[in-house]
Symmetry: C2
Subunit: 331 residues, 2 copies
């Protein structure tokens, strides 16, 4: 198929694009910025989605779409940018594809539409009402409705994939990683929480402001309960997107894309540190720190989704990638 | 209260603004264009909603909002304008009011979110799934979600009012009225359907292209069944908006605002013509012409809504207004 991938130079998008090329598809990447390294077999159009005109002739022969491009921010001052990129961007993309050969459209959404940190029941699934509390979560609700509308009126099969929390195994033990660094390392977490003014957490980590030992955080809530969530490995997430693109669902489907089981972040971090030979420090989180479980039953049934990464496999991949980085640095 | 009314110079908005002033409220009208006749007691800000900046100091002391301003079009080429005005406009309005004294927000939505012309069950009520098939209907779904989100995160009480089909009694027998003209008069209907390329209807009315007798259309569907819908009198609709503004509902409520009973448009038109002494012509509509009934039970229970206009009252007001226009023309 000829497949448009928005956000193709991003963390998930580049993996999706590479997997699609490997499976024989022609990929058109739509990105605000050109990828730093070209992905072989991917044709790139550099554009802001909001600048696309209706019935874009460059997209006329596209047959399917993976709309992964989005702006993520939880800073109130970024609400306009989040709205523009994720809501107006989705609207403009639908208008640009009107009249095209597209028959299948996959949207990357998020568990933040529920939201996951205030679940009415657990494990969270696709039937949970959508009551987002962040502009990012709202922007995805609006994008979901826009895509469902496009499906009804343009006769597309549409799939909304609600991504769970995602980590790239190769980044898990990289203290400089945008996602994994503040999640697992004391120094990066201190910088993030201190900047956000979260004194309760920052104060516990102040001693690690200049940490050079890559100390790993082992977090629990003040009441001793673990903070649990589904952690998805990026390559598994990409496989889920490919399954949705190649699947034969019809109408509008909503699918939560998450791992087979949820992870206790504290014990997972301890295992990571142990496997990599790194020191740890305990962090006490407020009792309000998010902790939830998610179901991937719908993804397994509807898409035949089978994640390849469990916790042990992720830790193994993380240690191997850290070793490679160390060897590269020495060379 | 100090109440912001968007679209205050519009058909419903001007009536709402006048009723609010009469009830002792201070009204700030927000409009793209200044009203042709100033409404006494209404302070006007002329602005496109999309141009409002976050935390607008001019709105800081507003306590309640009736967001009635919207762009209505069913022309595909207007999708961008509909989206901008109704979706981005609602987003920008919420951002402008962030940090203000607002505690109550009423949004004008539409039965087109269901949509009414493809009901899954009847009478239509607020529990019906939202599956719009027009950009206008979608724009209101997105506005509804944005307002509900604002309620959750800014601690506003929010009310979504889904307006039924609305007519102004004074305009019912005015062949030049934007809404009533093509609905009830052969000449105006011909012009509209001919321009839209609906030959099935236009061909039946071609003889009325230059009609000077104000011939009224009495329409039924080809299979002989009536076309039925709830017709709301604009002053009743305005009273519903005022009730929602002054009410004490909390959280997020969705209320269909419609008349006590639905109207058979064909027999209603025949009664209108009879009361005004006008000739009639029969029009056969496709079997797919919209016909539906709506419930206003929620509006009656939650808001204490009691429409004052029934069909007889609307006809009486329509005839009186037509007589006044004729007298004014003679004078």
């Amino acid at each position: 198929m000829r497949i448009v991938v928005t956000g193709a130079s991003g963390r998930v998008g580049s993996t999706v694009a590479a997997q699609l090329v490997e499976r024989g598809h022609a990929v058109i990447g739509l990105d605000r910025v050109a990828p730093t390294e070209p992905i072989p077999g991917v044709e790139h159009i550099v554009t802001d989605l909001t600048e696309l005109a209706p019935r874009d002739p460059r997209l006329a022969d596209a047959e399917a779409v993976a709309h992964l491009g989005a702006f993520m921010s939880w800073n109130d001052a970024d609400a306009e940018a989040v709205y523009e990129a994720n809501v107006t961007g989705t609207f403009a993309l639908v208008r640009a594809l009107t009249g095209s050969a597209v028959r299948r459209f996959v949207l990357a959404s998020t568990g933040e539409v529920y939201p996951e940190n205030a679940p009415q029941y657990q494990p969270l699934d696709e039937q949970h009402p959508r009551l987002p509390r962040t502009w990012y979560g709202l922007s995805k609700v609006l994008a979901e409705e826009t895509v469902a509308f496009a499906g009804r009126t343009l006769d597309w099969s549409t799939v909304v994939l609600r991504f769970s929390h995602t980590q790239h195994p190769a980044e898990l033990l990289d203290p400089t990683s945008f996602f994994s660094g503040p999640r697992f390392f004391a120094k990066a977490r201190f910088a993030k929480e201190d900047a956000a003014g979260n004194a309760f957490v920052a104060d516990q980590l102040r001693g690690f402001a200049d940490d050079e030992a890559d100390t790993v955080i082992v977090a629990t809530r003040a009441d001793g309960t673990p903070t649990t969530m589904g952690i998805m490995a990026a390559p598994d997430l990409a496989r889920g997107v490919v399954l949705a693109l190649e699947g034969d669902t019809s109408g509008h489907e909503v699918v939560g894309l998450g791992p087979d089981s949820s992870t206790d972040l504290g014990s997972f971090a301890a295992r990571l540190a142990d496997a990599a030979g790194l020191p740890t420090t305990t962090l006490i989180l407020p009792d309000t720190a998010p902790s939830y479980t998610t179901s991937n039953a719908q993804a397994r049934e509807l898409l035949g989704f089978r994640p390849e990464y469990d916790e042990a496999h992720m830790i193994e991949a993380a240690v191997a990638a850290r070793r490679e980085r160390a060897e590269a640095a020495r060379a």
